[in-house]
Symmetry: C2
Subunit: 259 residues, 2 copies
Amino acid sequence: MKQQLTVIKIGGNIIDNPTELTQFLSDFSKIEGYKVLVHGGGKSATKMAQSVGLTPKMVDGRRITDAPMLDIAVMIYAGQINKNVVAELQANGTNAVGFTGADGNLILSEKRNHPTIDYGFVGDVKKINTPLLQKLIELDITPVFCAITHDKNGQLLNTNADTIASELAIGLSEVFEVTLNYCFEKPGVLYDAEDDSSVIAQIDSPLYAKLKDEGAIHSGMIPKLDNCFNSLSKGVQKIKIGHHKMLKNADAVCTTIQL
Amino acid sequence: MKQQLTVIKIGGNIIDNPTELTQFLSDFSKIEGYKVLVHGGGKSATKMAQSVGLTPKMVDGRRITDAPMLDIAVMIYAGQINKNVVAELQANGTNAVGFTGADGNLILSEKRNHPTIDYGFVGDVKKINTPLLQKLIELDITPVFCAITHDKNGQLLNTNADTIASELAIGLSEVFEVTLNYCFEKPGVLYDAEDDSSVIAQIDSPLYAKLKDEGAIHSGMIPKLDNCFNSLSKGVQKIKIGHHKMLKNADAVCTTIQL
């Protein structure tokens, strides 16, 4: 029987709030069994870019990553955020190791080749190095991934953190029974974005299609849920979306996704 | 019989020169057997500090690391430099993984407590996690260390890269037969600092004492050689100091240190 493994993705709302981050990392350390953390970037890359005179460009909610912006992303995501998270997890007794996709060739990507938009140094995940990742996890290492990958030709690439979480969950589901948790600022997927009490407890494929038709689910939530259904169809056992307090309280409101 | 392992430390002169770095990483990839890379910082941390309005402070050739300066060091050393080196080694077919001392608790330090100088967030190495490092190396991972460690209480610490190289070499000599190589801009330890042809081929303890008395060895070279003799007395097999071309050419001039 496969062993349980939990992949948890946290976003900028936790990264940008030191008190929230400390609480989360303490809760994360108490989760039993194998686990993997994936973190987004938060606002510090944008702040750092501004302080050195760069103007971040966005298209369709995605950062256009030119060479100077990639440099900042690598510094902030792989350096500042990743290593401080690792140090704090170590203080909590979790044997964390921080990774980009370049480390151990754990996440191989290819530079996005879009017909009309030049995204710059943005990578789409091609392959997870499941055999090495499994060995590291079985050494009781807790991998902490930032949203930087590589192309195996020496180029680092900025990559969507939600996608990294789902691709890692898919890759690891070959050898573990994987639960994927997306933690964000809301208590779950909301029927009415303005009403935090409108959490949808369960979403399956037919309901997802209906909610998109009704316009209840739109913009940033669509790629997130597309990732979820993709992950479930490729072997991930269970996906939960909600506030990170769902991790320590099994009764907390959240959204569970199933096929 | 113990297996061979080579620890190589490179300094700012290689890090700051992209052509030199690319050549070095190609040569490094061709070294046979287990190996560990340790890299210094170069000038980019100072440049970045300046571009965000910080003024680096130095005492006795050591950077005083206040909190904003530590932040920059973590970004540049553990982020920018470390991850680009890892990506380039991957392109060369070396399965590199980048580490700070916080990752896997591989290098535990304590914040320096100096009677008269407040060095800030500077760490002195206390303990190498040899068992985990050995397991990683035996997975055919090539560790790439930057000069950042931690105190296991959540605090990252700036640490001298030469010391990290020597402490890693000492720790690993428990389980491997370790050669330690310090690569810098000169062909070796020079009798006359102005004359690159005055390389001292071999230095042992009595000669080292004599050279210090004569004033031929002074300033930055003293802590480097102190580290060497400390490493040799604690189990490291052999130490070489010289230009990185000594790595691919066994006949190249360099200085060998022995007890």
